[in-house]
Amino acid sequence: MVADRGTPSVDSIRNFCIIAHIDHGKSTLADRLIQSCGAVEDREFRDQILDSMDIERERGITIKSNTVTLLYEAQDGNRYTLNLIDTPGHVDFSHEVRRSLMSCEGALLLVDASQGVEAQTVANLYLALEYDLELVPVINKIDLPSADIERAREEISEDLGLDPYEAVLCSAKQGIGIEDVLEAVVHKLPPPIGDPEAKLQALIFDAQYDPYRGVVMICRVKDGRLRPGQRIRLMHSDKEFEVEEVGQLQLRRVKTDELSAGAVGYVIAGIKTVRDIAIGDTITEARHPAEEPLPGYKEAKPVVFSSIYPMSTDDYEDLTTALDKLALNDAALTYEKDSSVALGFGFRCGFLGLLHLDVVQERLKREYGLSLILSAPSVRYEITLQSGEEIAVDNPTLYPDPSQIQSATEPYIKASIMMPERYIGVVMELCREKRGLNTTFNYLSVGRVELTSELPLAEVLFDFYDKLKTVTQGYGSFDYEMLDYRPTDLVKVDILVNGEPVDALSQLVHRDMSRARALRYCERLEETIPRQQFKIAIQGAIGGQIIARSTINAYRKDVTAKCYGGDITRKRKLLEKQREGKKRMKVVGAVEIPQSAFMAVLTSDTQK
């Protein structure tokens, strides 16, 4: 594919993103826009073509924002360059939306005609307003029998404060109204403002890693021009590179002669070290640098924390590289070195939510082939010490001595659960169990209710999704937003194996939940630690006080198959294999704990 090599004039460019609540049809609309502009051959097309990661395709959701440049010939006969960014709808990935918005002048705000305005519709609207973007509301899925266009209009007006009669009606799935959407983009969204002759300023808003070419920066040029051969400087990191190639993202990279003011595209500059660049940095020309970098953006603060360890300590280096590369592509991920007596070296990572954690873990496994153990996810507690000092603790191993603690607070979320009416009772009970406050519900329509509850995030991290799914037989949908920090009665629960604490299994929990949690860990360990030559005591404790216990009886018999006809080799090989397996076990208090035991205790609490 060869790009239109002429540099488009600023006026003919439109930079916009599609934002909406999860599942309202952003990626499907992007598909239709891409097809309408002829950017993809029919035989290469597949649904939600921008969702290119395996996990995105499997789960049917967008995780990463994706940029694509389209060439559109409008009804007025002019040709436009449209830089479209499809964004994720799930709350855990709102940082992706934020980054996308920064490189756009406008956005299509999609509303599902049958669902109407939802939590992330509102949240994304606010984000867009924060960046002063022009908005065009789009009502999608008008083909659905349950579509209620009038109600959607009403909500657009009342909940979003936008002009309901500006709204474009379409069905992304059926391809209805696509032309109208494109015309609205061209006529209602403004072109970028920029001066190709001014000093170069380009915002890096995303990046990829190409094994052959190194870092591929995705950027939006504010002023000036970016060209191969140019010497560029990254203004924050103060590193210089030479541009090798620039171009547009038309589903694949297409080389162009330059990227000039207003353009969105990629830059390759022979950067091999991932840590040399940071998302949000500004590219300028080394010889004629701009005075100021462009405003970066503050990264979303992580709210969920977990330590990641490689299964095999040999993989620590690989994990380091993998996290570096992944963070390039996922700027919201934070990580720092951590270590555990039982599991060795790893990283303490911060995530924007459970789904984010899940996705990172999954990507590390799939894209980097790593086998990992994750510690139980934790929130960040704010603790006031007797001395008056305030500290934040997200890692149980850093929990201060209880005698020094004056008070502690923990984060709360506002959960919104939608479900058929018949599950109201069990879900309210679940919220109560999880220390929920102010649980209320209202009817959305006949038979459908929305329940809201103020829940400690820590309780949601543990086992909430599983239980919700079970009690609502899969019919409950869950959404949340962060509320505030509230006082809590925090304790640290340690798990002891034959008297020795297993640091990777320590956790911070509310006192009321401590016994149940400890018991559950003990039981899981009892099920998964193989019997050994001696009796094993497993205990849960708060300080010196034992709150839960279980025992594994001694293993009393080996399988002593006969060494037949001098075939000693077979038996020895078996023993050697077991010895190898033993090496991979973690030894705590002389007890060999296989990794499967850590897995059994630590996973599945977070899986949805």
């Binding site: 009393r556 002593t560 198959a561 001098g566 080799t569």
Partner: protein, 398 residues
Amino acid sequence: MSDFDGPGLYIHVPFCTHICPYCDFSVLTGDRSWQTRYLQHLSLEIELLTESGWPELVREPPSEAFDTIYFGGGTPSMLPPGNLESILEAVRAKMHVRENAWLFLEANPEDVTLKAATTWRQMGFRTISLGVQSFAEDNLAFLGRQHSPRAARRGLDNALAAGFDTVAMDLIYGIPDQSPRAWQSDLDEALAAGPHHLSCYQLTVHPRTPFGFRQLRGEMMEMDNDDQAELFMLTHRHLAAGGMPGYEVSNFAAGPQHRSLHNQKYWSHSPYLGLGPSAHSFARGRRWWNPRKIKAWMAPLDAGRPPLESVEELGLESLVLESLMLGLRTYDGVDFDNLPGGLGPALWRDNRATIDELVKRGLATVDRSRLRPTLAGLAIADTVARSLDLGGLRNEPT
């Protein structure tokens, strides 16, 4: 065993009239024509041996004469005595076999008529080992055995009457749902039959056998570990009380003279040579073995080559590991001063803490340089062997 510490010869006879559902040995239900081909190829294999009576690959063959010859299977008693006789003749002609070599024969109880037993006895067989497996009708049915308890007893009587030095029999225990009481009465029947040697094997379910498939499909459950342990202890205590003390995890003898001279060679790294499909051999730190499948064993012989499947050079670490693993399965345990390469003392030092722990937990006792498992230790012999750290040892060829 003092007088019999030369090399041993094993001859595998791969035929059974019926294949047991738990069997993973090299066997087939061959008819007479198969037997003929087998015999022809066995003599080819013998002919291929060098002057010394060992295959080419043994560069410095042991100089001592073979002092045990063991016919195992399969069911060697299926072969007509005349065939056994000619195998023995061929062996004696080619190899250096001691005059009073101890001959062993594995037999199906039903084959042990008084006439057959007397013939074997006259041919020089001194130990006969009967595959009885159980005296309980239902167990025999479960195990897919064709003989009746009565036939088993008759076979034993005939063997005893024929005057073998050692009449041995095999039993299987740990059959799903077997109660301690049921197993004990099986043991009592066995003792009452008056053998000199007993092998009691725990039922092991091997993959790719009918039992293995049944287990995969969830139709059969292996016995719970605690129950297995209980039966194991019961076996050793009950037989000891009945005058048949154990000397290895699965082996019991009415007196030291009845212990299996041949099997003890396997456990002590004495040289041994195996002929026939799947047979294993060991000499000079090397182990090698024949293909399991009878055809794969015959094909190279047809081409005039020895039927070798694999050769393994045992490094010092492997030798030591085997010595520990096998030694800890015996009542005598392991004498660290006699470990290969003189590595025992260092190993003992490195494992001092583990050894103390084993003693403290009642799994072993220490007698100078000897580590001797207790009954509880014997039950988990593999685990005990596993717990010893060979850390410093290198697997250098010896």
